[in-house]
């Protein structure tokens, strides 16, 4: 009888501890309610010092986008770099993923092409896939370069890359197909 009581007491205590620990974790990893980019970044970096907050990284990233959009400025780039670095250190994202995200948003050239090492005749065989990848990345660049940094020149450069790349890729793809058909 005594043993049964001890077991029940242990279970009850365990449940209490478990219930109380969940809100604590949520609170520690909650998206900071900061109104400025700097304040938000400081709070977020602090959160990411906690290894359990890695799962909130995407929410932090999205919130930083929203905050930055309210005040587009070149200095926002530093905030994103810092957040991504913190995410890498935390283990929330890999180094590769972090670099991908930073380049997709803040670099005029297209990251999706940089990572493909196959020859063009092979790599460009699926036009729709290529175009979809470029379209998606161009949207991110619009957000990053234009909405967040307010850098029209760099976004125009991205648009120019997009335009030129689609022309050249179409031509290369067609010439490769034609060569294949002649065999």
């Amino acid at each position: 009888m005594k043993i049964a009581n001890i077991v029940m007491l242990t279970v009850a205590l365990g449940s209490t501890v478990a219930c109380s620990s969940v809100p604590q974790n949520r609170s520690a990893c909650a998206i900071p309610d900061a109104k400025t980019v700097d304040a938000f970044l400081t709070a977020t970096e602090n959160n990411l010092g906690n290894s359990r907050c890695g799962t909130s990284f995407d929410d932090y990233f999205d919130r930083l986008i929203a905050l930055s959009r309210e005040n587009p400025d070149a200095t926002n780039k530093q905030a994103f770099a810092d957040l991504i670095r913190a995410g890498i250190v935390n283990g929330a994202i890999s180094k590769r993923e972090g670099m991908a995200r930073f380049n997709e948003y803040f670099e005029p050239e297209f990251y999706s092409l940089k990572t493909d090492v196959r020859s063009n005749c092979v790599a460009l065989s699926d036009r729709q896939n290529d175009i979809n990848a470029l379209d998606n990345e161009l949207r991110k660049k619009r957000t990053g370069l234009l909405d967040i940094l307010g850098d029209k020149a760099q976004f125009r450069q991205s648009q120019q890359f997009y335009q030129d790349l689609t022309v050249v890729m179409d031509a290369v793809r067609h010439s490769c197909d034609a060569a294949l058909a002649r065999r």
């Binding site: 670095r85 380049n103 940089k114 890359f161 030129d164 790349l165 031509a171 290369v172 067609h174 010439s175």
Partner: protein, 274 residues
Amino acid sequence: MSYAIPTLKDFSLALAITALGGVTTAHAVTATGPSVNLFNAATIESLSNTSKTARALESSLEKVINQLETQTALYESAGCASSNDAGCVQLRKGVKKNYADLLDQIQAQLPEIKRNIGETRDALGKQMVSELGRKMSPGDLQRLLAGRHGKMTPSAPALGSAKAGRLSGLFEGYYNLVRRGGNSSGNSTVLASQLYIDAVHSANYLDLIGAEIDSQHTELLLELEWGELTAQMTGTVGSVKELLWGSDDMRQNILNVGLETSQPQEAFADLYVD
């Protein structure tokens, strides 16, 4: 009876390509980069031939178009549209004959232009497969367009008013512009790609145009009633004139490609991917 006037307007597409051919030839002579050789001897020769064909067409059509315009103006000012006066009938015959001459000349030169464009397409396509398709990855392609071969690449020259005057003058304007400004393989690649795509489409399209001109020519010879022919002819002549002596060319945008080199990003070196 309806005459397919738009086909002649569309014919300008093929000739615009010949104009671009002239541009790219010039560019190749002066701007072929060390690592990308899209314009070999065969390509340059076919482009040169295409340019010459365009010049020949310009010369041969100029006289007949001038005559047509004069006759049409006289026809309209004399109110011949609804008249069967002997003079008007004579004038109609003259217009008809000149219009038939115009179609004859286009018809005669169409095969050569088509052959030249086909040769340009094939020669350029072969080089593109060799230089861009098999030797390069998508990343290499992007670096090429960005002009990053380990050195800074100046922006492409502004086209400004190079496209002014006659079709033949257009070639010289582009040629001089390219000589002055560009030595970027990236720009050259975009131009070559645009030319290739247009050549592919046009080679297919010229078959259709040829068939329609054949049909139009036959109908003209058989047609006894004028109907709306004069108005349609005026439209055709206008299209050909625009082709020969000037129109907006969207390809100017391609020449204006601004491949600025990104500023050094030392602060983010750990996050950038080259």
